[in-house]
Symmetry: D2
Subunit: 102 residues, 4 copies
């Protein structure tokens, strides 16, 4: 089962600057060979369910190892059985309709 | 690694009434022996990372088997290394402060 | 337009214990006269769109005034035009099906 | 008070294809003059609190007018008082650290 995920991480108890923890998670996703798209509020991730959620677990572990006593993530997970869909498909589907009606 | 999760599921493409799918997911969580607390917008779930996320994957599979072509979930996941915390602790921590200051 | 919301708040840059900020937000919701249901990962809130989102804005302001340099909230908002629905209805709808099938 | 938001919308009860509703919301955000960045799981939006949340309310109204009996959105809202930050800043902060450590 493939999944398209949106994923954001907030370390708690490490001060106001959280970007180095976000970077560490992004590296975990990259190292797992997952297709990702970074945006201002997290990252889109595409892959098999087990690979994607394995990487998210690893991200929690890495951020704790970096010293964060609490880690809070928000994950939106979408699966579909009617057809395959990629990250790029999802954006194109909206963008093409915006252009036609613009 | 233990995790406290908030989990909600929206099946897409099956009409306006979604409660039977929510019920099926609740049953998956119960069958997995996980501690849960149902609320109006999802459920809190407490357990080991692998058990909780295994149950969430199973919920996607069950809702697809019931006929939903798309399943969208939102998961908030919190882990902490500074101390153990249960679902009940989290609520009590807020409620006790509300009473003292009320 | 009425709305049923699930709302959680994370202050960033104030250390590992966040419950006093959650309490302050809960008080804002109560003072606004909104029906709420606290759970381990936030609160369900029911009311008119403008009242509910006015209270959420006020919560951000109050948490900043308490000293948090960053405030991050997650809001799930549901509206429906087919019929009225309350917080209690949503939980009862699931619980009654769980009992029948249990 | 400025806010950076991540916003996604799911119409319920209108079948499996939801992109035309997403397009309508994107148009509402654009018409409000808000800076947005579309991604595969929603859109980042930047602006004053009242303008951003006014547009999100309008999005719910428009999607109902298009025929969706239920509309469910997920909103992540971040405010900060320590400094100004834009959508572009947030992404650059992570990307620059990725490059340095890559």
């Amino acid at each position: 089962m493939n999944v398209i995920v949106d994923f954001s991480v907030v370390p708690i108890g490490v001060g106001v600057s959280v970007s180095k923890y976000v970077v560490a998670c992004q590296r975990v996703l990259d190292d797992a060979g997952l297709k990702t798209n970074l945006h201002a509020y997290g990252a889109n991730v595409e892959g098999s369910w087990d690979e994607v959620f394995g990487a998210i677990k690893k991200c929690h572990e890495v951020v704790h190892e970096m010293g964060a006593p609490r880690v809070s993530t928000v994950i939106k997970a979408g699966t579909r059985t009617d057809r395959d869909q990629s990250l790029d498909d999802k954006v194109r589907s909206v963008e093409s309709k915006l252009e036609r009606s613009g």
